[in-house]
C-alpha cells in the first residue's frame, strides 16, 4: 500500500541531513555545556554556533534566543513570563479566537490570576480584525498575542499591521507618560523557516517557534525575546538560557534545529513556489470534482502548503480514517476527532456553521510531497466521499 503523508502541519519527518548533524552530539560530544572541561566546552561551542545561526536567520541577536522544549513551552513562557514580570494592579491581554491551545490555555490560566483577556474575532476568511484589535487596546493592556499563521487553515495574519498598531501605542504611552509597557508576541510555529521573518523589521517583541515543524527534531523550540523585554522564568533550577529557562541544554536538539533552519533557508523560495503550485492544483481539483466542497480560509493569504476543505454531508473524521485505510494521512477539525467532542474552535470562529465545521479535512503538503501523491489522494478522496455520502443520513441535492 502507498504511504502518503499530508499532515506536515502536525509534524514533519526529521530530514536525514539534520539527523546526521545531530548524531555526534549524543555519544561523542556529550558534554554538559555548563561544564568547564574540554568536552563541555565543545558542546557549548556547538550550541553558541547554532544559536547565532538561528538568530541571524530572523535578524535577531544570539542573546535574544531562549531555547525551550518546543512551541508550547515558548508560548507559555512568553505569555506567563510577561504577565508575572509586571507588578501592576490590572493586566489586560489581547489575543484571538483562533490561536493554538498553547496560547489560549495559558491565557485561560492567567484569567484565574485576575488577568483580563480579550479574544478578537475573525472574519469568514479567518483573518483577525485589526480594527477591533485597535479598539480593544486599553491603558492596562500589557500584551498582544496574535499568531503569524493559523495551524488549521494556514491563514496568514496581518502581523505587520498589528506590530505597527502596537508601535503607535508604545509611542502614545511614552508621550502621555503612561508607565505601562505593551508587547507584541507572535506564535510563528507554522511559519518559522517557511516564510521570511525579520523580527527587527516587523518590530516583534516575542516570537515562538518549534523545530519539528521544519524538518528538525521534536523536543526543541525557541522563544525570541527582544533585548530589554523582561519576563519571569517558569522553570527554576539554574542559570541556563540567561536564567530564563533552567535545564541542561538539549545540544543535539539545538544543533538539529540550526541545521533544519540552514536547509530551509537555502530552499525556501523555490520550495514555497513549488508548494503553492501544488496547493492550488489540489484545491481546484477538489472543488471541481466534488460537489458541495468548500475551501476554508482565505484563498491567497494562506500558507503555501495548506488545504482546508469542508465536504458537505460527511463527517470529517470518517473521511480521515477512510483515507488512512488507503495510506493517506491527513487531519480533521471535526468534533469526533477531539476528546472534547467540540468541532474546531478555529472553524467555528469563522462562522462556518456546525455542518461544515464537522465536515472539514486538512491536507498539509511538505518537502517530500509530489504531484502524483496528490492525484492519488484526489482519486481516493472522490471514492471515499461517494461511499460515505451513500451511508450518510444527510443528503445533498444533486
Amino acid at each position: 500500500m502507498r504511504k502518503i503523508y499530508l499532515d506536515y502541519a502536525a509534524t514533519t519527518p526529521t530530514d536525514s541531513r539534520v539527523v546526521k548533524a545531530m548524531k555526534p552530539y549524543f555519544s561523542k560530544i556529550y558534554g554538559n555545556a555548563s561544564s568547564l572541561h574540554k568536552i563541555g566546552q565543545k558542546s557549548k561551542l556547538a550550541m553558541n554556533k547554532a544559536r547565532a545561526e538561528i538568530a541571524q536567520f530572523i535578524n535577531a541577536r544570539s542573546e535574544e534566543i531562549i531555547f525551550t522544549s518546543g512551541g508550547t513551552e515558548a508560548n507559555n513562557l512568553a505569555i506567563k513570563g510577561i504577565f508575572f514580570a509586571l507588578n501592576l494592579p490590572h493586566k489586560h491581554i489581547i489575543t484571538s479566537k483562533i490561536e493554538h491551545h498553547a496560547v489560549l490555555e495559558p491565557c485561560r490560566f492567567l484569567e484565574k490570576q485576575n488577568a483580563t483577556i480579550t479574544h478578537l474575532p475573525v472574519d469568514k476568511y479567518g483573518l483577525v480584525n485589526i480594527i477591533k484589535l485597535q479598539q480593544a487596546i486599553k491603558d492596562e493592556t500589557i500584551l498582544i498575542s496574535i499568531m503569524h499563521a493559523n495551524n488549521e487553515t494556514g491563514v496568514i495574519q496581518p502581523i505587520k499591521e498589528i506590530s505597527q498598531i502596537v508601535q503607535a501605542e508604545k509611542e502614545r504611552r511614552q508621550k502621555e507618560k503612561i508607565n505601562i509597557p505593551i508587547y507584541f508576541h507572535t506564535d510563528a510555529v507554522q511559519t518559522f523557516s517557511h516564510l521570511p521573518l525579520d523580527v527587527h523589521q516587523l518590530n516583534i517583541d516575542l516570537l515562538s517557534a518549534s523545530a519539528h515543524k521544519l524538518y528538525g527534531p521534536k523536543g526543541i523550540g525557541l522563544l525570541y525575546l527582544k533585548q530589554g523585554v523582561k519576563i519571569e522564568s517558569l522553570i527554576h533550577g539554574g542559570e541556563h538560557e540567561k536564567g530564563k529557562r533552567a535545564s541542561t541544554e538539549n545540544i543535539p536538539g539545538i544543533v538539529g534545529f540550526a541545521k533544519a533552519v540552514e536547509l530551509a533557508k537555502k530552499e525556501m523560495n523555490k520550495e514555497q513556489k513549488r508548494l503553492m503550485k501544488m496547493r492550488d492544483y489540489f484545491i481546484n481539483k477538489i472543488i471541481d470534482s466534488i460537489k458541495d466542497s468548500h475551501l476554508n480560509g482565505h484563498a491567497k493569504m494562506r500558507l503555501a502548503n495548506n488545504i482546508n476543505i469542508s465536504i458537505k454531508g460527511i463527517e470529517g473524521e470518517a473521511m480521515m480514517i477512510n483515507l488512512d485505510s488507503f495510506g493517506i494521512a491527513c487531519s480533521t477539525g471535526s468534533a469526533c476527532s477531539s476528546t472534547s467532542l467540540e468541532p474546531s474552535h478555529v472553524l467555528l470562529a469563522m462562522s462556518l456553521g456546525p455542518e461544515l465545521a464537522h465536515s472539514s479535512l486538512r491536507f498539509t503538503l511538505g518537502r517530500w510531497t509530489k504531484k502524483k501523491d496528490l492525484d492519488y489522494t484526489i482519486k481516493k478522496l472522490i471514492f471515499v466521499v461517494n461511499r460515505l455520502r451513500n451511508i450518510s443520513s444527510l443528503k445533498i441535492k444533486i
Partner: protein, 128 residues
C-alpha cells in the same frame, strides 16, 4: 493493535457496513442526534408478527458511529421487538472492541436510534 487497525471489527463495519440505506414503506423510522453534535442516525424497520424482518440505516457521523449502527442492525435483524430492546450499547462495544471512552456515545446513540424506531412502531400499532 489499535481501534482503527484494518483487522478490527470496528474497521470492518466502517469499511463494509451492513444494511445501509432506506426501506420503502417502512413500518417505523427511528432518528437520533443533530447536526450540532455531529452525529445523525436513522433506522428503518420492517416488522412482521412482532419480528424485525428487515432493517436499514443511514448515519452521518464518524467511523465509530457508522460501525455502531451497522453492528446494531446485524444484532437485531430477525429478533422479536422485546429481544431487540434488550440489546444495549455495551453489547455493541463488546463486538466492536477497543475504543476510547469519548467514542462510547456513538454506541449509545445507536441503541437510542433503535429504541426510537421501536417506540414509534409501538405507538403506531396502538393507534390501529
Amino acid at each position: 493493535m489499535g481501534q482503527f487497525d484494518k483487522n478490527s471489527e470496528l474497521m470492518d463495519h466502517f469499511l463494509h457496513p451492513r444494511n445501509v440505506g432506506k426501506l420503502d414503506n417502512p413500518d417505523a423510522i427511528g432518528k437520533v442526534g443533530n447536526i450540532t453534535c455531529g452525529d445523525i442516525m436513522e433506522i428503518y424497520l420492517k416488522v412482521e408478527n412482532n419480528i424485525i424482518k428487515n432493517i436499514k440505516f443511514q448515519t452521518f457521523g464518524c467511523a465509530a458511529a457508522i460501525a455502531s449502527t451497522s453492528v446494531l442492525t446485524e444484532l437485531v435483524k430477525g429478533k422479536t421487538l422485546e429481544e431487540a430492546l434488550k440489546i444495549s450499547s455495551k453489547r455493541i462495544r463488546e463486538i466492536l472492541g477497543e475504543m476510547p471512552p469519548h467514542k462510547y456515545h456513538c454506541t449509545v446513540l445507536a441503541e437510542q436510534a433503535l429504541k426510537d424506531a421501536i417506540e414509534n412502531y409501538q405507538k403506531k400499532s396502538e393507534k390501529k
